[in-house]
C-alpha cells in the first residue's frame, strides 16, 4: 500500500482500484470526492465508490482485499435500506474506502458513462455529472440537494437533461420533483446566453496536418502533430493544441475568465518565462459547449504573447 499516514484515503483508493482492476470489477467514485470534483469541495476521511457487481459477489472480493493486507468489514443493508451492502476497507492508518453495491434505482449503465479524473498520475473513474446529480437528489438531505445545485451551477458543459430526467425517474417520484425544483434554481442562477453556431456565425473545427510548436524565451512550450484549427465567423483561424502536448509545468493558471456564448467559459494561463508579455497568453475551454466539444482538453496561444507559433516545423 502506498499510504504512510492518516488523511490519505485517496491514495488508498488508488490501491483499491488496482485490485478491482485485477478482479475485473468496474467502479465509479461517488460521495464527497465526487461532490468535490463537481464543484462542491469539502473534506472527507473516507472515499466511496460504487461497484458493478452484486451483493453475493462481494464476499469473494472481500477475501481478495484481505489477502492484499486490508482490514475489511462487510455489512449488508436490511430490506428497507437503499444500499444493498458496503465493504469497508482500511489500512493501518485508519484511511478508509467504502465500496457500495446494490443501490436501489441505480442505473448499471452509469459505469459506461463514468468520467476519468487523474490523481497522482493515475486515472480515477467518477460517476457522470448526471448520475451524481440524480443520486444526490435521491439521497435527498439538505446537503445532498445543495451539492446537486452546485454541481449544476458549476457545470459549464451542457447537462444531458433527458438522461438526467430518466435517471431521476428511476429513483422515484420524489426525486423527479426534486430535480424539477433544482433545475428551476439552475435556470435562475445561470442567466448567461448560449448561442449555437449557424450561417450568421459559423464555426468549423478541423485537424491540422502539420506539426505545431510554440516557444517562449527559447523554451518549447508545446509540440504537437494533433492540433486542431478552429475557424469562427470572420475571426482569424486559431490553432488549438492538445493539453497532453503542452508542457503544463511552464504554465501558471490565472483567475482571468471570459465567456463566449458559442463556446462557453474560457480559462487562462500565463507563461512566467515570458514575463509581462505572456500574462494570460494561453486560453482553454475546459467544458466547451456541445457545438465545439472537440476543443475540450485543448489550449490555444495568443501569437503576440509568445515568441513563435510555428506550423510545419521539421
Amino acid at each position: 500500500m502506498r499510504t504512510s499516514a492518516s488523511g490519505e484515503s485517496t491514495l488508498l483508493l488508488l490501491d483499491v482500484v488496482q485490485i478491482l482492476g485485477k478482479e475485473k470489477v468496474d467502479y465509479a467514485v461517488v460521495g464527497a470526492m465526487a461532490a468535490s470534483v463537481y464543484g462542491a469541495i469539502r473534506a472527507s476521511r473516507d472515499a466511496d465508490a460504487l461497484l458493478s457487481i452484486g451483493v453475493p459477489a462481494l464476499s469473494g472480493l472481500e477475501q481478495s482485499f484481505r489477502r492484499a493486507g486490508f482490514r475489511t468489514e462487510l455489512r449488508s443493508g436490511d430490506f428497507e435500506d437503499p444500499i444493498g451492502a458496503v465493504l469497508t476497507l482500511q489500512d493501518g492508518f485508519d484511511n478508509q474506502v467504502d465500496l457500495l453495491v446494490g443501490i436501489r434505482g441505480f442505473d448499471a449503465e452509469a459505469f459506461s458513462r463514468s468520467v476519468e479524473v487523474a490523481f497522482d498520475g493515475e486515472p480515477l473513474k467518477f460517476v457522470s455529472l448526471e448520475d451524481f446529480v440524480a443520486m444526490k437528489l435521491f439521497a435527498g438531505g439538505p446537503q445532498d440537494i445543495a451539492d446537486a445545485k452546485i454541481a449544476l451551477e458549476v457545470a459549464l458543459e451542457p447537462v444531458d437533461l433527458n438522461l438526467l430526467r430518466k435517471l431521476a425517474a428511476r429513483y422515484g417520484a420524489q426525486t423527479v420533483r426534486s430535480l424539477e425544483n433544482v433545475l428551476g434554481h439552475a435556470r435562475k442562477t445561470n442567466s448567461k446566453p448560449i448561442k449555437l453556431p449557424g450561417p450568421d456565425h459559423p464555426i468549423a473545427i478541423s485537424p491540422t496536418q502539420d506539426r505545431v510548436t510554440v516557444t517562449v524565451q527559447g523554451k518549447r512550450v508545446a509540440d504537437t502533430r494533433e492540433a486542431l484549427t478552429l475557424k469562427e465567423a470572420a475571426y482569424p483561424p486559431v490553432l488549438y493544441i492538445p493539453r497532453k502536448d503542452v508542457d503544463m509545468t511552464q504554465l501558471q493558471r490565472t483567475s482571468h475568465q471570459t465567456y463566449c456564448p458559442y463556446k462557453g467559459e474560457c480559462s487562462y494561463y500565463s507563461i512566467p518565462a515570458g514575463a509581462e508579455r505572456s500574462v494570460n497568453a494561453v486560453w482553454t475551454y475546459e467544458t466547451p459547449y456541445a457545438a465545439v466539444v472537440e476543443i475540450k482538453d485543448y489550449l490555444a496561444f495568443y501569437p503576440d504573447r509568445v515568441d513563435t507559433i510555428e506550423v510545419g516545423a521539421a
Partner: protein, 60 residues
Amino acid sequence: MYNGGTVKSKLADHSRKTLVEAAKRQTREERLRTFVRHSKLVTGLAEAGKRVRAKTRVAG
C-alpha cells in the same frame, strides 16, 4: 458559512457564490487535489484534537 438553502442569509449567499465562482475556475483535477489537501488538513486537526483529549484525560 455555506448555506444549503434552508436559511436565508445575504452573507451566506455571498459566500456560496464566491465558492461556486472559485470552483468554476478550477479543472476537475484541481478540485480533486483541493479535496485531498483539505481532507488531509481536516484529518490532521482531528488527530491533534484526539491527542489533546487523551493528554487531558491522563493529566486529569
